[in-house]
Amino acid sequence: MSLLTNLTNREDHHLLRKVHDRIGTGGMVAGGFMLFLIVAATLAPLISPMSPNAIDLLNVSSGSTWLHPLGTDNLGRDVLSRLLWGARPSLLGPTLVIGVATIIAVPLAALAGWSGGVIDQIVSRFLDLVFAFPGILLAILAVTLYGPGLYPCSMALALSYMPWIARVTRSEILRERNKPYIKALEVQGLSGFAICVRHLIPNVSATIWSQVTISFGYALIDLAALSFLGLNILPPGSDWGVMTNNENAILQGDLNQVLYPCLLIILSVTSVTYVGKRLSDENTRLLK
């Protein structure tokens, strides 16, 4: 919260410099790349050269041509269009995962950190329990129960990412809780809830943001992997993970149709994690 408001409250010409101060030139490049992907995904219906499922039987598994800038896959579908359309679930999915995870994690962490004692113990043990289930396994269990799809997969992953965000937030809140200004607010008679919502959580939000950013990258990887396994996005729908599930192309040596989605996954995850790491380095620096 406060990161965003801090950034937007300042005058416009200071905005870029403020961002630059926080994440550096490399972070700007990485963030710019992500912004570019988001814009491209949003505009997919306008800018993609053809329909992602249109089949061009005359040009099957072709290399780059004027008609198909990134070639076609083994069904003759345009790779560039599929990448653009596939960017939508590929980026929306992790947003959903991390959004839900954060919405559950932050209040839980605030409750545990603020109350302490038995409640803290119970919440912490619960987090330990969720930790024992690898995210992919939880998603597979969810698919067994509710069938494949983005919704069961992302809800299961949200549950498994929740403890990561909750643990970091809780330990930050514990650190912040004992500061004099919080005591002062308590003495003034402000309720615990109000202190948490208005002061405590906004003040630890920098840490939450960096953890959220880093988790986003991992969620993108997990969702792509689930799509690859055929549990997440199902054909004819497509994301980058589905596009990589093309063993025929690999066995025949037609690499480009599989290479581009792989490359996009790697680049976007690298970018997101880099920004997240810069944010968290910045936080530790500011603490010192």
């Binding site: 329990l129 067994t144 690999i250 995850v269």
Partner: protein, 304 residues
């Protein structure tokens, strides 16, 4: 640990009852059955008993090595497990060795040679941590399997050396992400130790560089490395699902995935339980290793 194992087993068992519709409907899947068969199955799976009693039956059976009968294949689940487990175990152990040896070696190397080599390793690992397991698998498969034809692209092989040959690419793919991560952790930890007081003292006592690095820096740097390595190795179990799919291996992951598609819930429960139990056991093992490495840490103390 025992408590955690019990609770997770309960969660896995209870998840059957979270499904929409009744449990027997889930067991039958798409098949339509006569009421007599339904009643027989309900009796066989104790579905008419109270829930906790059903869980108790299942748990005691599991502890005796009886994981029930696969509803789709009509074979005991335990048989299918024992057929699949060796491949996965081989893969995980092979991969763990790769992770620990190369992750620690690269990290130490990187910390001792600041400059170009360090920058190179750090850039490589930065990208490396962003490579999903299945992407690493696909690229290895395409390059070393198909293009160069050095390694087989399918199956797990028979006999130790053949299996080693077959599982090399999968193990590398599985290890890839973890090696990159472990390298970074080892490097950070080593650099902190190298700049710390114990190393300074050891140096001022005139000990050789080798002794200082081996006995003082490396040993103290190991604690965070063991934590992360343990978590990585435990995490590999979930990664096997993906790698086994890429390389067509009949391990536990493949079994889990086909059982999901067949709605074979008894098998899904059994495999999930094994994967989660292994994860918990490895983590506990890591905690024990801690106390051996650093006597200051004692189990059971609650740190905030």
């Amino acid at each position: 640990m025992v408590v955690l194992l019990l609770v997770t087993s309960f969660v896995i068992y209870a998840s059957l009852f979270l499904a929409p519709g009744s449990p027997d409907a889930l067991l039958f899947g798409a098949h339509t059955v006569s009421p007599a068969v339904r009643a027989a199955v309900n009796r066989q799976y104790h579905l008419n008993d109270p829930f906790l009693q059903q869980y108790w039956y299942w748990l005691t059976n599991v502890l005796h090595g009886n994981f029930g009968t696969s509803i789709t294949y009509r074979t005991p689940v335990a048989l299918r497990l024992t057929a699949a487990a060796p491949v996965t175990a081989f893969l995980v152990i092979y991969s763990s060795i790769l992770i620990i040896v190369s992750g620690v070696a690269l990290g130490v190397l990187s910390s001792l040679r600041p400059g170009k080599l360090d920058t190179f390793i750090m850039t490589a690992t930065n990208v490396g941590t962003a490579v999903p397991t299945f992407v690493a698998g696909l690229i290895l498969l395409a390059f070393f399997g198909v293009k160069l034809n050095w390694f087989p692209v399918y199956g797990a092989g028979a006999g130790f050396f053949d299996r080693l040959h077959h599982l090399t690419l999968p193990a590398v793919a599985l290890a890839f992400w973890a090696v990159a991560y472990l390298t970074r952790v080892t490097r950070t930890s080593m650099r902190e130790e190298l700049q710390g007081d114990p190393v300074l003292t050891a140096r001022s006592r005139g000990l050789s560089r080798r002794v200082v690095i081996q006995r003082h820096a490396f040993r103290n740097a190991l604690i965070p490395v063991v934590t992360v390595a343990g978590l990585q190795v435990a995490g590999l179990l979930a990664g096997t699902v993906i790698v086994e799919q890429v390389f067509g291996l009949n391990g536990l992951g493949e079994l889990l995935l086909t059982s999901v598609q067949d709605k074979d819930f008894a098998t899904v429960q059994a495999v999930s339980l094994i994967l989660v139990a292994a994860f918990i056991v490895v983590n506990t093992f890591v905690d024990i290793t801690y106390t051996m490495l650093d006597p200051r840490i004692r189990l059971g103390t609650n740190q905030p």
